[in-house]
Symmetry: C2
Subunit: 295 residues, 2 copies
């Protein structure tokens, strides 16, 4: 049994709790959450404000916002506890790996970072497509679905009480943003709309801003992606490969985190992304039955 | 540079030659083929009847029929040379792994077996789908495209001069077989049709036999697959995941074999299937640039 602690008990943390309870090989020891207001799910599991309150932890599943992951992972790995996270700032993943790799090795622990769906399982799919076709172009088209980052950016604009930004795929990696806004008292819609469209998050995409009386009734945690590649195997062109999914976003992220928590305890000390780990390590069961079922 | 030999120079071997010439990190040392009649492609590469005629070989890519792979892989691994193959008899893969694992370890070599598209990259996709959804059903629907095994089985029926069996996907893992036959002189079509439908290869599927004057003009090496799963992440049902491709069959198999040849030289002694190997090992380039591009 893998003795596991959930660190951060928001949206993703609550789904990780569900996924752990469904997995026969995990023993959920406790939850770490300092902000009691975030806890919206009832549970009998012990909730503490520091991971040191729990003994003999094999894996910490980090479910905090990405921006605090680097420091948090470092502090937990320093205690010799393995970590898994869904760090999603693509441009900084390699630097994080580089930093955590040294800390992991010094403390005989392992970390799997960027273990959500993008980065994460989508990265595995993009890698597989390059293994099948040496040349070609891969497009990742997101949506339709809610973008957390863009919604937060819109909410930060002056005059916005609440906001929801939907990502709409236009194909070949081009996206439209539809931003539903609930205005603060006395705010001017034209000004708000202009401010959103000028914001760095939206300036490069086709962006539409729509005023609504209530953003909350539009909320849906579903998302989707289509990854497509047309490429060349050897000298043979026009090899067509497609991957698509339509999923509940936090539930999928949580399940992938749990699968990677299963894998991290089997790795040599160091820090890894999902494409550096044999997939079989992420699946429950003995090697023989997995190979007989899936290969 | 990975010093590589192609063993078996039929359909797949010729495509592996093309894929190796397109790959910047391989040095093609030679080809092993005992049956000169099989060689239909012109090449300057040295063709010998025994792998021992080549020096300092890092990898042998085995492109022979599956039934002779077990013995061939054993003999080459025994010389301390790494092997890669696309062995495709699903029910015997684990047993082959078990056997070659011991031989590989005794000779400090590594083998990657079942490294085509099914088994192979499809196995990776099925594994990834289970990593994303713990419960659910995965369907693999093949085609439309030519089945080598079924075509050979139909050709072996008395009265058949030439045959082509097309696999047609009916969804949820159910397939139709359409068998195009060119009759031998004086053969009776009704008898031939009945014999094909009674054959073990066809008895369990909806099978149609069609007489044609010339099978050869129908030949096309394209194939397709759709892998779909509807499953559960944690406690969240109805997660929908799809993978599909439309590809030139031998060209894709060859490219995957070459990608795995790149990986096999990086493995500890032993025998592996593709789901036991980090995908990053199969991709050309340094780790940092791969992670920055694909994760």
């Amino acid at each position: 049994m893998i003795r596991t602690v959930i660190v951060g008990f928001g949206n993703i943390g609550a789904c990780v709790l569900e996924a752990l309870l469904e997995s026969p090989d995990f023993n959920l020891i406790g939850i770490v959450e300092t902000n009691k207001e975030l806890i919206k799910v009832k549970t009998d599991v012990s909730i503490q404000d520091d991971i040191s309150k729990f003994n003999d932890v094999h894996v910490a599943i980090l479910c905090t916002p990405s921006r605090i992951i680097p420091e948090l992972a470092e502090s937990i790995l320093s205690k010799g506890i393995n970590t898994v996270d869904a760090y999603d700032i693509h441009s900084k993943i390699f630097d994080l790996k580089d930093k955590l790799d040294k800390i992991s090795k010094n403390n005989k622990a392992a970390a799997i970072i960027a273990a959500g769906w993008d980065p994460g399982t989508d990265s595995v799919v993009r890698s597989l497509m390059e293994i099948m076709t040496l040349q070609g172009i891969t497009y990742t088209d997101f949506g339709p679905g809610m973008s957390m980052g863009h919604s937060v950016a819109a909410k930060a604009i002056k005059g916005v009480k609440d906001a929801l930004s939907i990502t709409v795929p236009l194909g070949t990696g081009i996206h439209r943003r539809i931003v539903y806004v609930e205005l603060a008292d006395n705010a001017d819609f034209t000004k708000v709309s202009q401010s959103i469209k000028k914001d760095d998050y939206f300036a490069n995409d086709e962006t539409h801003v729509i005023q609504v009386p209530n953003v909350n009734v539009l909320m849906d945690k579903g998302h989707a992606v289509n990854i497509s590649r047309k490429g060349v195997s050897g000298k043979t062109h026009n090899q067509i490969i497609n991957f698509s999914m339509s999923i509940n976003n936090p539930a999928l992220t949580a399940q992938i985190l749990v699968s990677c928590a299963r894998a991290v305890v089997k790795q040599a000390p160091g820090c890894y992304t999902m494409i550096e780990i044999p997939l079989i390590d992420m699946i429950h069961g003995d090697k023989e039955s997995i190979i007989r079922r899936l290969v």
